[in-house]
């Protein structure tokens, strides 16, 4: 006999501090929660879909089983790659990987439950040039942006720019050194140093943006139709002026709800992106104008929970347990701190 409790599946790696409080919250609320990393496949994770004997789809990992037809919600965070037997050669592993990704991807996509967010949705939603284009289309101001791998385009921009220019990586604030050593890669003002390194623009796509004068910044976490706008007084510290990620302990501002006009535009953007969860970054200029920077469809939030006491974990847990199809509506609740 199956459990009457809501069933929730979380797909992520073992180390994911954002997920731990949500797992605890789900358990405390009585959900049947199973957390899996796809790297468990195929050694300790079995995936099954059968039309025989009544039809059933399920996953099993050690002593835990997930009935995919009974799921209320799936939180797609950071599942890492399948790990096949190292005895297999690369060709065999590639075949095994392709079979697995098509099959497991299809089985999971066929579930009729709430996904926060579906991986195919995330894959498109996280494309920053698309986000910027969409934001402009919806009437939001965005920083003027150059995306290029042509050094001459960068040189021309720097020679003609009427504003300071920043370099900003498209894929976040962390960069690898050889040996997988991580270091910070924050948005940086471009100065004369670039002139000796312009040729390195050829190696891959680079993003340059006009620097926008700021009064403060807003980190907006969106969980369903609930908004958690957090104000960051980034101009209070030298280390956070250009990029607020420059400090671990941030200078927060007082709670200020987003203006209705911005809420409507964000809702329209997130509806277009089809995401249930997102973190959205804005600059607020000295004149009070909101400038859209980016959407992070799997942005993390627990640092604000610890600093400000915002109950993100409980809201995520409630959303996953409620399940059903999500509709991004016009009725938005903003939560302060």
């Amino acid at each position: 006999m199956s459990s009457p409790n809501p069933s929730v599946l979380i797909l992520t790696q073992d180390f994911d501090p954002t997920v731990d409080p949500v797992v605890r919250s789900l358990a405390a609320k009585g959900a049947d929660v199973v957390r899996l990393d796809l790297s468990y496949f195929p050694k300790t994770l079995t995936v099954n879909s059968s039309d025989f004997a009544g039809g059933r789809r399920w996953l099993r990992h050690r002593d835990r089983e997930v009935d995919l037809d009974r799921l209320a919600g799936v939180w797609y965070r950071r599942p890492t790659a399948f790990k096949f037997d190292s005895e297999m050669g690369e060709a065999e592993q590639q075949f095994a990987r392709n079979e697995a990704v098509h099959s497991i991807g299809g089985i999971l996509r066929a579930t009729d439950c709430l996904w926060v967010n579906r991986p195919d949705v995330d894959a498109v939603a996280e494309l920053k040039p698309y986000q910027l284009a969409l934001a402009k289309k919806l009437g939001m101001r965005v920083p003027r942006t150059l995306l290029t791998n042509d050094p001459q385009e960068v040189a021309a921009l720097l020679a003609s720019a009427d504003r300071p220019i920043v370099y900003k990586a498209l894929t976040g604030g962390v960069i690898h050194y050889p040996g997988a050593f991580p270091s910070g890669l924050l948005t940086a003002l471009v100065g004369d140093e670039i002139t000796q390194h312009l040729d390195r623009v050829r190696h891959t796509m680079c993003m340059f943006q006009e620097y926008i004068d700021k009064s403060r910044e807003i980190r907006l976490t969106v969980i369903g139709n609930t908004y958690f706008p957090v104000s960051i007084r980034s101009q209070d510290l030298e280390t956070t002026k250009v990029d607020w990620r420059g400090e671990n302990l941030l200078p927060y501002g007082d709670y200020e709800p987003l203006p209705d006009d911005i809420v409507k535009k964000v809702q329209a953007m997130l509806a277009e992106l089809n995401v249930v969860y997102a973190a959205v970054d804005f600059i607020v200029t000295p004149s009070g104008e909101y400038v859209f920077l980016e959407v992070n469809p799997s942005g993390q939030f627990m640092w604000m929970y610890h600093d400000l006491g915002l109950p993100f974990g409980d809201w995520i847990a409630d959303l996953l347990m409620a399940g059903g199809q999500f509709h991004r509506g016009s009725d938005v609740t903003q939560v302060g701190y």
Partner: protein, 95 residues
């Protein structure tokens, strides 16, 4: 879907996954590296900043357990999670 089902690990978790101790010398910045490396904030910290309390994944509770009360992954780096309980703004926050 076929190419988007799995992701790279959190980059700040690689220290603990591979268990490596990062070098404290600034890697040589070469012209062969993408421009982004020019703007990387190299601050590996010091070995005195914290013990190697990497913790472990507890399959029963389905959460990460660390022995010191705080997660200290990504040790010695500006990308470490040791700065506050849980995670920090810089830890892959915009991914």
């Amino acid at each position: 879907m076929p190419t988007t089902l799995v992701r790279n690990p959190l980059r700040t978790s690689l220290s603990m996954i591979s268990g490596h101790v990062p070098p404290v010398e600034m890697p040589e910045d070469t012209a062969e590296r993408p421009l982004g490396y020019l703007y990387a904030a190299w601050d590996p910290g010091t070995f005195q900043e914290g013990d190697l309390e990497l913790g472990y994944y507890d399959a029963e509770s389905q959460t990460w357990v660390d022995t010191g009360g705080f997660i200290t992954a990504g040790v010695y780096t500006r990308t470490r999670t040791a700065g506050c309980p849980g995670d920090c703004p810089i830890d892959d926050v915009c991914q």
